[in-house]
């Protein structure tokens, strides 16, 4: 636990107490809207709109969850989102990883300019790119395919990931690689067998960043895919915001379901994630 400075004997000092108090305050603020959403999703249709609102559902009503899971195509959307997210993580990490390594290690001219150029491309507002990309997609015959989604997400995430990963590779001591190469290892082998395993946390953290982005994106998914069988969850959520009114119960049930996978992913990876960001971002 490097860096934790609440060491020593003063275990129940006033500081710790204060820490807990402040953290509890933080938690209250972060989870209240979500808890309120969860409560709403467990209410029956009539009770949802009751005013003054009931704090606990009078009768636990799971019909909203039932409708979302069994009466809509949500399971398909869910599968699509998982697949697209997985492929994007894979593609963007591989592509950005190689690029970042090359910029970090190889003797390339105009490195600085290149890095700034890369950063610049991630500054463009997405709304400006939609119509050009749409037209390109239709011309290339890849509109309305999952491939198009993966392509757009991957290329939009690549600049940011290259930036983060470059910072990370910069912080991996170069001496180990040099030693390996003196031993007769090729550059390629060094990268795959030494640098990548050592950079695992950085890779995990960038993967998680991509996951959250892709999982939540509405704009790209809505624009480039109209087929029901290719729809993703973020677009699926919109089907509860109808022209007849917002169906709060079903919408919020669907929201609760969609945040579960990302939370699980985060819990599983958070240790590595935090470490990864440490090495990567500090130098970036």
């Amino acid at each position: 636990m490097a860096g934790s400075y609440a060491t020593g004997k003063k275990k129940f000092s006033i500081y710790i107490l204060l820490t807990y108090l402040v953290l509890i305050l933080f938690i209250l603020v972060t989870i209240t809207p979500i808890i309120w959403g969860l409560i709403t999703s467990l209410k029956g249709t009539g009770e949802i709109n009751r005013f003054p609102p009931t704090i606990f559902p009078e009768k636990l009503d799971l019909s909203n969850f039932y409708k979302v899971i069994f009466l809509s195509n949500f399971t398909t959307y869910f599968k699509n989102s998982c697949l697209v997210t997985f492929l994007c993580i894979l593609a963007s990490t591989i592509i950005a990883g190689h690029a970042a390594y090359a910029i970090s290690r190889f003797n390339i001219k105009f490195k600085e300019q290149m890095m700034f150029g890369i950063l610049m491309t991630s500054m463009v507002p997405a709304v400006a790119l939609l119509i050009p990309l749409y037209i390109m997609g239709v011309k290339a015959g890849i509109y309305n395919t999952g491939f198009m989604l993966v392509l757009v997400y991957t290329s939009w995430r690549t600049p940011m990931l290259t930036w983060i990963l470059k910072g990370f590779f910069d912080s991996v001591p170069i001496a180990i690689e040099e030693a390996a190469m003196i031993d007769g290892c090729t550059r390629l082998r060094t990268f795959y067998t030494i640098v990548i395993p050592m950079s695992q946390p950085g890779i995990v953290s960038s993967a998680l960043l991509t996951a959250v982005y892709v999982w939540n994106d509405f704009l790209v998914s809505f624009t480039f895919v109209t087929k029901e069988e290719l729809r993703t969850v973020s677009v699926g959520l919109y089907s509860y915001i109808t022209q007849y009114g917002v169906q709060w119960g079903e919408l919020l049930s669907a929201v609760m379901i969609t945040i579960i996978p990302i939370i699980i992913l985060f819990v599983l990876l958070q240790r590595k994630f935090v470490d990864g960001m440490a090495a990567g971002a500090v130098k970036g």
């Binding site: 009751r50 005013f51 390109m136 015959g141 809505f222 915001i241 009114g245």
Partner: protein, 437 residues
Amino acid sequence: MKRFVIAMISLALVFSMTACGNTASTEESGGTSANKTSSGSDVKGSDLTLWIFLNPESKDDPRNIVLKDIVDSYNANNTMGSKVKVESIHYSKFEAQAIQAAAAGTGPDIVNVYTDMLKQHIAGGTIQPMTKYAEEFIPTIEGYTYTADSLKINNEIYTLPWESRTFVFWYRSDIFKDVPKSLGELSSLAGAQSTALAQGFVIGLSDGSNSASFMESFIPFIRSAGGAIFDDSGKAVFNSDEGVQVLNYMKSLIDSKAMDKTTLSLGVDEVVDAFKAGTILSCNAGTQRAATIRGSELNDKIKSAPMLGFKDNEPSPAVVAGQSLGIGKFCKNTDAAFDFIKTFYTKDNQVKWLKANVLPAVKSAYDDAEIKAMSNYEELVSWNEYASKGKVEFYPADYSELSVKLVQAAQNVLFNGKDAKTELDTVANWYNDKNQK
């Protein structure tokens, strides 16, 4: 040097990629056009795509089920051998998606268009006229609400409405013993009923979602006062005395405390939600929202009536709008597309829509025995009666922009002490200048 080499290689790859892309697309279009020419001999059908805001794969809304039913039975029974595939497009982004597709030279074969947005679709190049088909077909629909002439835009028919909705006054019968006689009476009655938490009568003035809540009241009110939004040549004339009267009426709602400042953030969805919660005691809203409104726990105390007008016992002229079907600009097999469109207007299918709380466009649907047995039959008939006095109107292509400007004018009049005439003049002049060029 290296950078230059890299750049060259990348550029080469870009070009080869786009080249590949082009061949791929020509191949594809070649394939489909072959399919289409063979179908030219008017018996063959095609694979057709329908873009609509409903989603037949979702079974949680009766309207979706009806659509699935209609599409499935058409696919199974049509004599042309067509197959219709539905792609559901979110209603709030429908126009954007269709116009974008049209710009790329693609789009669905059959498009569902909300009549308010029809001119935007035409201007955006998403649909093609189907006058010939429609003129032949309309007389054969038993009890169709619309005449061919009423649907013409520049002498062409683009879509046929299959649904009609109108905008009515919803009120709480426990608060208002009788329907107020006029808007003036409503203002004072509603004002008296307002409390710190509840507002008596609210028109939402948020500029979100095309300021629908405001426009749904502004248009019938201005007509009730004897004015209009546009004259016959399409010039904006809402800066008339009647327009001023309407804005001043809305201002009087603030003065009488019938509504408060929170209206600034209320769109039509929020107004309906608050009405269901009982914190808004009456409002104007479309009949298509009936099922949602009736989901409230206060349902027993909720009634509807024709939208009130300025004169006693004389409702505002009904505003009618609806969902309609047209043929996509890039549809090759228009025969097949229209053949599918026709199924929406059979009495059987119209009855199905009515059962799912969608007001039909065919009057004979109300004669159906099962419909007559419905518990809300009387209300349905009353809406139909009210709607039949109005007519569907097609708003200009730049209606979205105009309505946001109008609601902002209203906001300024109600809350910033601006003069109604000046504000309306500004908007009208902006609009007329823009469209004169």
